[in-house]
Symmetry: C2
Subunit: 507 residues, 2 copies
């Protein structure tokens, strides 16, 4: 399908692309030809007010009707065919195989929520009246859930499909019964438009109000501010950097009415290699960590950024294996020139830090390609340089060498919040693993044993979130079926006649 | 037991009462003799850091151990005997029977959470590994819940027991595994100290870390600010006015790390009397509304502040019955002189508002007593005076007269968020009731049919919250067993050996 470069505002493609911005081909390292319209203040206003209008009917759909809508979006995404794959790959530099897999995950997520809705889960608690209870009768009370209202979603740079236009946030909001106003990421506007075309097709096929979904394009920061401070927006989903996330948080803090902000921000995903594991598998674990680090050129929110190891007699083997593995890594394309520059500047900065040693770099490539890097430091210098605990978005890892297990335990106390942490251990490590696991659990959203952090299972028992700055809302997950709860809120129906109860709360 | 007037800081009674504040006897309208210490900055700091320290052991207690602690607190509250009842009644002006009932509710709430813990509920979702799944194996993932950390709770003026020192917020936080730093309300410091004595006794009997509970006394606003902005405080529970709640919200917004603020603020709890109900029971419903309004001298967060009625041929009977019922109401004691002055000033203000008619007042009493008041207005003037939608804390109600059902529907669209709303109807009203109920559900936390809003059932299916300003966090309840979720957060355990899993997530 042709790319219009326009915004999708409640069913209408509008906007002036003449003065707009261009997409960037990450693989070719050059601007693309299509131009995209910066949404106007009026377009944003229309998108939000039409979403609010659509809430009246959309919130009243049956669970089955919403499930069919989600499945139809998935079908229409598949129907976009190879054009979607080629476009997303060009805009992000992510390989075709990866994008194809991500499309499967995206459609799978929509299906997960469709199945959840069809299962009738999350429909609350029924407690009947007890008119003879003393000292007071108990009324009939039934706890149900309502959608919160219009949800604003911000697309992520690193998952052009699974965390973007029809990604997890959109799927969970639509599943909950909330219209979505989507702000596309400027790194992949054509991909966003194609997916928005698919959603519009699904809206038409399901005969829904066009206000249920709008796509906002734009480079202008004022657009984001307008969206998150709008009184009709009732929740915001965001996946991105701590810096940008906290700008949005501060804007949201200015609102007269507080609303939930689900920001998934930075994480270094510490990897703890226990002593007996190191003795048994020093090379294998080092190679595994490098492989995990290189996924998506390190541009995964679950990328293993810090490796914590005791500097014992097996450490040298571990370090040498990691160095050798890093040195074989080819230079790679990054998502955007801005992300590449940020990565390179951090690596340069670390090279000049006292007490931080560069152990190895990957292979060099063309100027626009990025090279992996491995550093090491000790606890004293880790404490000295708090910036070492900030996420480096890209294939850069830091080994924190501990003199003994007590220092490894001390490291846990120094940690900020993270999405994940892994403990790599063998049976003989179990007591030390337990001693680490207990405090570490309070620092992460997902605690992993003997597996790498990259690769997030999309299921009911997943949690993708964690203490700040991993998330701005530790009580929620942005992956898995529990994510629907972010856009629902409880309501108690007391003494309601059956005719006025939601069908799933009737006896 | 003797009242020390001191703060309970992690097991120690500390503070200088000489320069402190005095409690006020609401019934006698005179200051009491005991003086209470304004907590110092250092005392607040110690309370919070000791709570954080206690989190290490308290968060690791078994569910049974926490349940026993909650039950022991309840037993120790009962063991305070008549002194607690007499003290709370004197400090608040609430009758002995009411306080006795509230004590039962408070102990019942503690027991509800104890039973919840013993039942093993809220222990998550287990999904086993599937090593043969294509294209990738599924790891073993188990969703559990962890306590969030130190919780700060602010006592409410109007429920000296059930929403104060060992009230719902404290009970749910302790149940979740969170230590509590309690800021006592200045309206009932002696009651707070007695209950804190009971909690300390329970801590000793259960052999827990004294940091699990501290009681902060004080009139100084800087204390509250210090508490809610402290980095080690991870959630805040508050029940009070919209004005004070939003001051706390703004202070919390200044934090580097966002935390949840569970503020239960203002609500007018609109009551819709449908046409056929009015025809059938005009007098009875008017009397019922007045009786509900007078509970606790109108100082209930669920007090029915606005009554919405169509001005048809049965309206005069309704209005006349309401007037007569109001006129018989004796003047009453209010919780504090400040609350009384605020109430009287609002009633005076309303008397001078164009388009707002004073229909009736209750009986006059001594200068320190408060008189019920009933007003009426129409939709146009309701729109003209947005302040009419702000909660009046006290026995003052406003009838909004609609010309027809369409205006009643319009009224729903004008509403801000509320804790509750009631629809009073007979069978013949069902279609109009449905037309009101659907949009009204999106404005309230609890939707009630043919019952008064006062009296909140404490059970699993209760929701006490609602859209802002009823609550600052629409996704949570402050009453009922679901309240435990406010102080828990999810964690996913991936591929964990049984020995490192919480017992309830083991197979």
């Amino acid at each position: 399908m042709a790319i219009t470069g326009k915004n999708l505002i409640a069913g209408q493609w509008t906007g002036e692309t003449q003065e707009g911005f261009v997409a960037f081909n990450a693989v070719l390292n050059q601007p693309m030809t299509d131009k995209f319209a910066d949404a106007s203040e009026q377009e944003v206003e229309t998108a939000i007010t039409q979403a609010h209008q659509a809430f009246i009917t959309y919130s009243q759909l049956t669970a089955n009707e919403r499930a069919n809508f989600l499945d139809t979006i998935g079908e229409q995404i598949i129907a976009l065919g190879d054009e979607l794959i080629a476009t997303a790959s060009a805009e992000t530099g992510l390989p075709v195989a990866r994008i194809t897999g991500e499309r499967g995950r995206t459609v799978g997520q929509l299906g997960l929520f469709a199945n959840l809705l069809r299962s009738g889960e999350y429909q609350g608690i029924i407690e009947h009246a007890n008119p003879t209870r003393e000292p007071l009768p108990k009324p009939d009370t039934r706890l149900g859930y309502l959608p919160v209202g219009v949800v604003a979603v911000f697309g992520a740079s690193n998952f052009p499909l699974a965390f973007s236009t029809a990604g997890g946030d959109t799927a969970s909001a639509l599943a909950a019964g909330c219209p979505v106003v989507m702000k596309a990421h400027t790194a992949h506007p054509a991909t966003a438009e194609l997916v928005a075309q698919a959603i519009l097709k699904a809206i038409e096929l399901c005969d829904l109000d066009n206000g249920v979904f709008s796509l906002i394009q734009g480079e202008n920061y004022a657009i984001s501010s307008q969206i998150v401070t709008h009184p009709l927006v009732k929740a915001v989903g965001f996946t991105g950097s701590e810096r940008v996330g906290m700008i949005l948080q501060q804007q949201i803090n200015q609102r007269a009415e507080p609303i939930p902000f689900y920001g998934e921000l930075g994480s270094v995903n510490p990897q703890f290699v226990m002593a007996n594991k190191l003795a048994a598998d020093a090379s294998e674990i080092a190679q595994g960590l490098v492989a995990s680090l290189m996924m998506g050129q390190g541009q995964f929110c679950t990328s293993p950024g810090i490796w914590v190891v005791v500097d014992d007699e097996n450490y040298a083997t571990f370090e040498q294996s990691a160095i050798e593995a890093i040195q074989t890594q080819p230079a790679g394309v990054m998502l955007t020139p801005g992300i590449r520059e940020c990565y390179q500047s951090t690596v340069s900065h670390w090279q000049n830090l006292t007490g931080v040693k560069m152990l190895a770099v990957g292979q060099q490539g063309d100027a626009h390609l990025c090279t992996a890097a491995l550093f090491s430091t000790d606890i004293a210098n880790f404490i000295e340089n708090p910036a070492l605990q900030e996420e480096v978005f890209g294939s850069c890892a830091l080994i924190v060498k501990c003199t003994d297990f007590a220092q490894m335990q001390q490291f846990v106390t120094l940690l900020r919040g993270n999405l994940t942490a892994s403990i790599h251990a063998v049976d003989a490590d179990i007591e030390q693993a337990r001693a680490i696991a207990q405090p570490l659990a309070h620092k992460v959203g997902r605690l992993i044993y003997n597996q790498m952090p990259t690769g997030v299972e999309v299921c009911a028992s997943m949690n993708h979130g964690g203490p700040f700055p991993a998330s701005t809302n530790v009580r929620s997950t942005s992956v898995g079926s529990e994510a629907i709860k972010r856009f629902q809120r409880p309501i108690c129906y007391q003494n309601m006649p059956k005719a006025l109860l939601p069908s799933l709360l009737q006896d």
